[in-house]
Subunit: 366 residues, 2 copies
């Protein structure tokens, strides 16, 4: 069993950067995506990553930073760096197709970061779905792949519907009725293309909240809601720092009476798709693409997706200041804003990047 998984999961990240001043969370600088990308490329190249692999990895990291999913972007580099130096992360990694059929494929990630094998897997799924109508591709022996939404976005860009899932390590989520963490925050993403530039993009962990959100609440001096985490006797934890260190997050649904067995079931489904199906050790992924033109005339599915979105956005909100959104809206808004005015990096992320650049022997230029 590979033991490297924990080293590049978002949760451990947060434990390692402690103690961090609350001020460390505040945006300190806005950096253009181009500049940030150059910095990332220099670092990855210094680790021995090929130019192609570095470019793909940087693109998926930048996707997260542009979309406001700050927990899955360049903020991960320090942890990737540590894993690499500890020998827990293979670079360059040999990514290969283990087996392939007309509508399926199995890839091996070679024990490296997940972005490159995940990118290749989704590309394969898209190509095969165009040939057959639908395709499923799984990846074994992989690593952290950033934001799942980045891969389903590849599908919608190609005009397809896409699904992407990954398991995560180490366990941080309790099963319903249980008290020990048994599953990761296992991510699930689904996207459908729009005709109006408003793709539906659902990108979610199958837990109620992430360890990172618990930390952030604690840093901000606020308690966490009673539905996020439990202690060893099953009682809600309200202190975000305690919750994150005990690693007993609830599955989506929070409590048995509010149907946490559904979130638990979804987390177990992701585990099956990403671990039981591809085999291998540690982190795996699963991708699925469907070609809408096999079902309806060109553009009809996209128009129906837009019509659904429009109906949902137009429904009256409880609070007029908080309109009803559709999955993908917050990320799209962040992306538009950040493409224009740059990516706000917190002090702690800038310091992390400086540390990584120095440790990698490349100039720090942010």
């Amino acid at each position: 069993m590979r033991t490297s998984g924990p080293l590049w999961t978002g949760s451990l990240v947060l434990e390692r950067i402690l103690p961090v001043n609350v001020l460390g969370r505040w945006p300190a600088r806005c950096v253009s995506p181009q500049r940030l990308r150059r910095q990332v490329l220099a670092i990855l190249a210094s680790w021995g990553m090929t130019e192609d692999a570095a470019s793909i990895t940087a693109d998926h990291l930048l996707y997260a930073d542009l979309c406001g999913i700050d927990s899955h972007g360049v903020g991960m580099l320090l942890h990737y760096h540590r894993a690499f130096r500890e020998g827990a992360l293979t670079i360059p990694a040999e990514v290969r197709v283990v087996s392939e059929g007309p509508g399926s494929a199995l890839l091996d990630g070679g024990g490296g970061l997940g972005h490159v094998p995940a990118d290749r897997a989704m590309r394969l799924a898209i190509g095969k779905a165009r040939e057959t109508g639908a395709a499923a591709v799984a990846v074994r022996n992989s690593g952290h792949f950033g934001a799942a939404g980045s891969y389903v976005g590849m599908a919608t860009e190609a005009g397809l519907l896409g699904l992407a899932t990954t398991n995560t390590l180490p366990p941080a989520v309790i099963p319903t009725f249980g008290v020990e963490p048994m599953l990761g925050t296992n991510a699930f993403a689904f996207a459908a293309p729009s005709a109006a530039g408003a793709d539906f993009v659902l990108d979610m962990a199958t837990s109620t909240a992430s360890l990172g959100k618990s930390w952030n609440r604690w840093r901000a001096g606020r308690s966490i809601p009673p539905g996020w985490a439990i202690d060893s006797r099953g009682k809600p934890i309200r202190n975000g720092r305690v919750a994150a260190s005990q690693r007993r997050l609830t599955p989506l649904g929070s409590s048995p009476e509010n149907a946490s067995h559904k979130g638990y079931g979804l987390a177990a489904m992701v585990e099956i798709l990403c671990s039981a199906l591809p085999g291998g050790h540690g982190v795996g992924h699963f991708f699925f693409a469907v070609d809408p033109t096999r079902f309806r005339d060109e553009g009809d599915v996209e128009s129906a997706v837009d019509a659904l979105g429009a109906r949902l956005r137009a429904t009256p909100p409880i609070d007029p200041g908080r309109p009803v959104l559709v999955a993908g809206d917050p990320e799209r808004e962040a992306r538009e804003r950040r493409l224009e005015s740059g990516i706000p990096l917190s002090r702690s992320v800038i310091e992390d990047m400086r540390t990584v650049a120095r440790g990698s022997g490349v100039p720090f230029d942010l």
Copy 2:
């Protein structure tokens, strides 16, 4: 737009059988599956359903009754009957394949009940997945198809992984931040085969709870948890009858702070797969099958599914009297019990069946 959908959804059902005595919920009689099946077949035949279609419909209804999913079994017949008499349900329905590719197909349900087109769709998905590795089949212009778990069970019986989703009518679930019901309780099911007779079967509505559960709490003289439903100002409703009549169920997650945007996103995903993708009016379905032998050696995926299940069942529970379960366990236990000692039918279901038999001109024999 077809307006018939509401007539055979589980929610309206419950409104129509009111007022029903609390005693009506109690099991009044245990009936053998064979006997219950004969009664169902006689009723469906009297409506003009072909022998094949009636047999398939009865099998899927019986699946639900055997598995303890009483809300989706023969208890639906009264509502199907009413819809049929009101002209909202076409019997016999012409189910046809609209288009087909190597790994995909689109079916039209012909405005009838959903069991037959859904059964055919999953069979097609299984056959195609065996040829290509993975396949997706959607159904348009369909109706209530019973329990989604019944179709993913077809996939595991064939040794495949399966996914089945359906949208439902009328809307009963609010979007996060919204106050009007905009989506159905849209069901999502996923199954993976086991080597040990313990298939993983997740079968869930994407709402926190169903309208039926709210009614049941009210009938039992109990309030509902604050996370199930809201009133027109967004405040929790605690009276199950009020909650069910107002039709403002929360998406899985219950509240914005406990990530109801994820349940809302899943419900919208189901709507896209079952409505935007196939087109048509009213109720649609989506099925997906994956052949595990394209990924690993025969039996390896099944063993890994079993190993995951064993690890989860062995984890310590909060309450020793309430062990940790795996999706599919409660249904399997109910099935074993009911195959042995019969299906317990409540007084209200027996009276409903008597009404349907009488109205259909067939002998009542339960």
